[in-house]
């Protein structure tokens, strides 16, 4: 089901945390406490930090419902290689000029897709988290959060499955904590520009060719 949603909805970021098993990580267990998952039990699915989306036959309708909620926050994630297994990632978080300034907690995590298998439905399994950073962003302004991840041997064994996600969430101690925007970068983290030399913005100052 989750794989179907990932396939069908490009504006959808999934982070899977294993809890109380061989693949659990302390940060993921703490994240479960943040959401008080054991009050209802697992599997437990939070959409944008707001509520458990159970039962499974409502996952898609609840995703569509959430996708339709306007946001005034944008988030762009980019990566620069420092070494073969070490990358620096920048999350640029902005509030649109017509929006409302707000305090946000910026999260950045690394996951490994299709791990562990079995079970076959494993997607974007959490591996490590960077320290969060709280930012205050005014309308029309941006903030940058820069973090470095070194990928371990497990991740580097299948680098094509490495995923890095970032999100901007209300800086609260637990659920509900509204996620305003999220982004995902997949290995090799390069998103080349579609156009060059200012073509997209209309700034042609850097153009060297002239039309007779």
């Amino acid at each position: 089901m989750v794989t179907t949603l990932i396939t069908n909805y490009p504006r959808f970021v999934v982070v899977e945390y294993h809890v109380q098993d061989a693949y659990a990580e302390p940060w993921g267990e703490a994240r479960g406490e943040f959401y008080d998952i054991w009050a209802l039990g697992i599997p437990w699915f939070a959409y944008d930090g707001l509520w458990d989306a159970w039962p499974i036959n409502t996952y898609e309708s609840k995703l569509q419902q959430r996708l339709a909620v306007p946001t005034d926050v944008t988030l762009e994630l980019s990566g620069v290689e420092l070494a073969a297994d070490t990358w620096e990632f920048t999350a640029e978080v902005c509030v649109e000029a017509g929006g409302a300034g707000k305090d946000m907690r910026i999260y950045m995590v690394q996951a490994l897709d299709k791990y562990p298998v079995p079970p076959a439905y494993s997607r974007n399994t959490f591996q490590q988290a960077a320290a969060t950073e709280d930012v205050t962003v005014a309308a029309g302004a941006c903030a940058e959060v820069v973090r470095t991840f070194t990928f371990d041997a497990l991740s580097m064994a299948t680098p094509e499955e490495i995923r890095v996600m970032a999100w901007a969430q209300a800086p609260l101690p637990g659920i509900p904590a509204d996620v305003h925007q999220a982004a995902l970068l997949a290995w090799p983290f390069v998103e080349g520009p579609m156009f060059a030399d200012g073509f997209e913005s209309g700034d042609t100052a850097a153009w060297s060719a002239t039309v007779p």
Binding site: R11, V14, V15, Q20, I37, Y47, P118
Partner: protein, 41 residues
């Protein structure tokens, strides 16, 4: 006839201003985050 043209021009200018103002409201595409907790027992 000239006055009508002036009125139409003013009306179009007003519409353009309204459209520009409307374009200034929030318009970002939301990407939804799902955090999924599970175990393989």
């Amino acid at each position: 006839m000239e006055r009508s043209r002036t009125h139409v021009g003013v009306a179009l200018l007003a519409l353009a201003v309204i459209a520009a103002a409307a374009g200034d409201v929030v318009a970002a595409d939301r990407t939804v985050l799902m955090e999924y907790f599970n175990a393989t027992w």
